[in-house]
């Protein structure tokens, strides 16, 4: 058979392509539909947050952590607060810790809803995305009542939280939890076990456990590959050691462990676990008590280097802080889950179709400002 002469074509995907979550750009070298090389081009949004931190006091950096991860802002807030508290050795009242757990788990759940919903929407299924957004809207309403904002919450403070829960709020949270689990079951019937959806995701872009570790993946992406690691359980902070929850790990239900469907399924399972955590925290919430470490003085961290990691919706969110003993950090470096996930797209996408790249981005749950910072 005569050899067909083919030519590589450069294709720009993004930054305004709807399936490149947020603002990502991929420079693809393609041969027809097959990707030869995929070069991610990042840096379109919310840059130099780490540099801004050097000019601000510790408490003033809190609203900027919202912008690091705008889909799960309270998780990023929580990480920064835990970092500052570890540096200075402050304790937080139990009520404050529990309110943090409730809000952080609600937001993690909302973030996973966006992840699974947009993954389905990238695969061409619009209805599941609407169902996911409907549930996220309920979470947003709860959080809005708690702290006044829907996206950039800025709720957690160093030493506690900014507001106590309003009257009757916990009942609303419990009511939401009751209605949420049936909604997830319905979501499963709607899309998770849909044959076409499974065919698009199963056995695509398999990440082995060794690869996942080598590329520094974290969170649901790492757990889907079979590595059982969760910062909440294995490097505990806050009240998490006293709460019981399971960490879902990829089982390879559709043949291969660590494929796109496993990552999707891990997130769906984690949403169920979040509901359990919220319930436990609400039940433990004392009737009254301080929600804030109440000592009015300027926050100063002793000089030194600190690295504190917490579990965000997209995995390990670590703050590396060099403190010089003053009111401001000397240097801040943020380690985020999406950055590691972004680095693995290049080897993963090689040899796959363009449509599979969309599946990869969707299943890795990449949020653009986490990469740019």
């Amino acid at each position: 058979m005569a050899e067909v002469k083919t030519e590589l074509m450069t294709l720009n995907m993004g930054p305004v392509h709807p399936s490149t979550h947020g603002v990502l750009r991929f420079q693809l070298e393609t041969d027809g539909e097959i990707i030869h090389q995929c070069v991610p081009d990042v840096g379109y949004l919310h840059r130099s947050i780490e540099k801004i931190a050097e000019g601000l006091e510790y408490f003033q950096f809190m609203p900027f952590t919202d912008r690091v991860d705008y889909v799960a802002a309270i998780n990023a807030n929580h990480g920064w607060a835990v970092t500052c508290e570890r540096m200075a050795g402050h304790a937080v009242p139990e009520r404050g810790e529990l309110l943090r757990v409730i809000s952080a788990e609600l937001v993690r759940l909302a973030s996973h809803l966006v992840a699974v919903g947009s993954n389905a929407s990238d695969m061409g299924a619009v209805t599941p995305f609407l169902h996911a957004l409907r549930e996220r809207e309920k979470v947003n309403d709860l959080i809005e009542e708690l702290c006044g904002a829907r996206l950039t919450h800025n709720y957690v403070r160093i030493g506690g939280v900014s507001h106590d829960a309003p009257k009757g709020w916990t009942d609303k949270v419990l009511r939401f939890c009751d209605g949420f689990l049936p909604a997830v079951d319905e979501f499963d019937r709607l899309i998770t076990f849909n044959r076409i959806f499974r065919a698009r995701l199963a056995k695509v872009a398999v990440i082995s456990a060794a690869d996942a570790m080598a590329y520094g993946l974290c969170g649901p992406n790492l757990r889907a590959s079979g590595v059982d690691f969760d910062c909440r359980r294995d490097d505990p902070y806050g009240l998490y050691p006293e709460l019981s929850f399971k960490v879902p790990v990829g089982q390879g239900r559709l043949g291969t462990r660590g494929d796109c469907w496993d990552r999707f399924w891990c997130r769906v399972q984690e949403m169920r676990e979040c509901v359990g955590l919220v319930r436990q925290a609400v039940e433990r919430l004392p009737r009254s008590g301080p929600e804030f470490w109440n000592e009015k003085k300027v926050f100063k961290a002793p000089a030194g280097e600190y690295y504190v990691r917490t579990e965000s919706a997209r995995g390990e969110l670590g703050y590396y802080v060099v403190a010089d003993g003053g009111k401001q950090p000397h240097r801040v470096k943020i380690r985020t889950g999406s950055f590691a996930a972004m680095s693995i797209t290049e080897p993963l996408a090689r040899g796959l179709m363009i449509a599979d790249l969309v599946a990869i981005i969707g299943s890795l749950d990449i949020v653009a400002p986490e990469i740019d910072r």
């Binding site: 809190m62 609203p63 209805t127 809207e137 309003p166 044959r195």
Partner: protein, 161 residues
Amino acid sequence: MGAVADYFANIRDAVRTTLTGLKITSRHLWTQPPITVEYPDVDVEATLPARYRGFLVNEVEICTGCLACAKACPIDIIYIEVERDEATKERMLRRYDIDLGKCMYCGLCLEPCPTGSIHFTPRFEASTTNLGDLYHQFVERGPLPIYKNPKAPGGAADSEE
């Protein structure tokens, strides 16, 4: 199972799971009330919770001019000028401006305020064709005497002497 049986089993599976999804969708179509709000026709402001962070306002009548909000602001958008009246020797609030075009609505300025004069309102419709409209000046007719709260730290206590 043979290849042919597999082929038909796959088709049957695909049709079955797709029909399940379609059934859920159509049930929602007939049984779910609409969850969207027809925004300009419905008064959304009235439904917002008390803590909603809309426009930032300062009630200059109870402002102590202590600069705590300006110091807490991470992006320095609160401009305050306090002067001493030559005749009455009273401290006067001459200027209190907030550049809402730059505001990130974080709410850090509210927390150190001793009198609660700076606060959010549920008003949120900020769209304008002129960016200058978002520069809000709260001291309109000449310098105001600042609020004297004996318990407040900072501003008011200084002016007592």
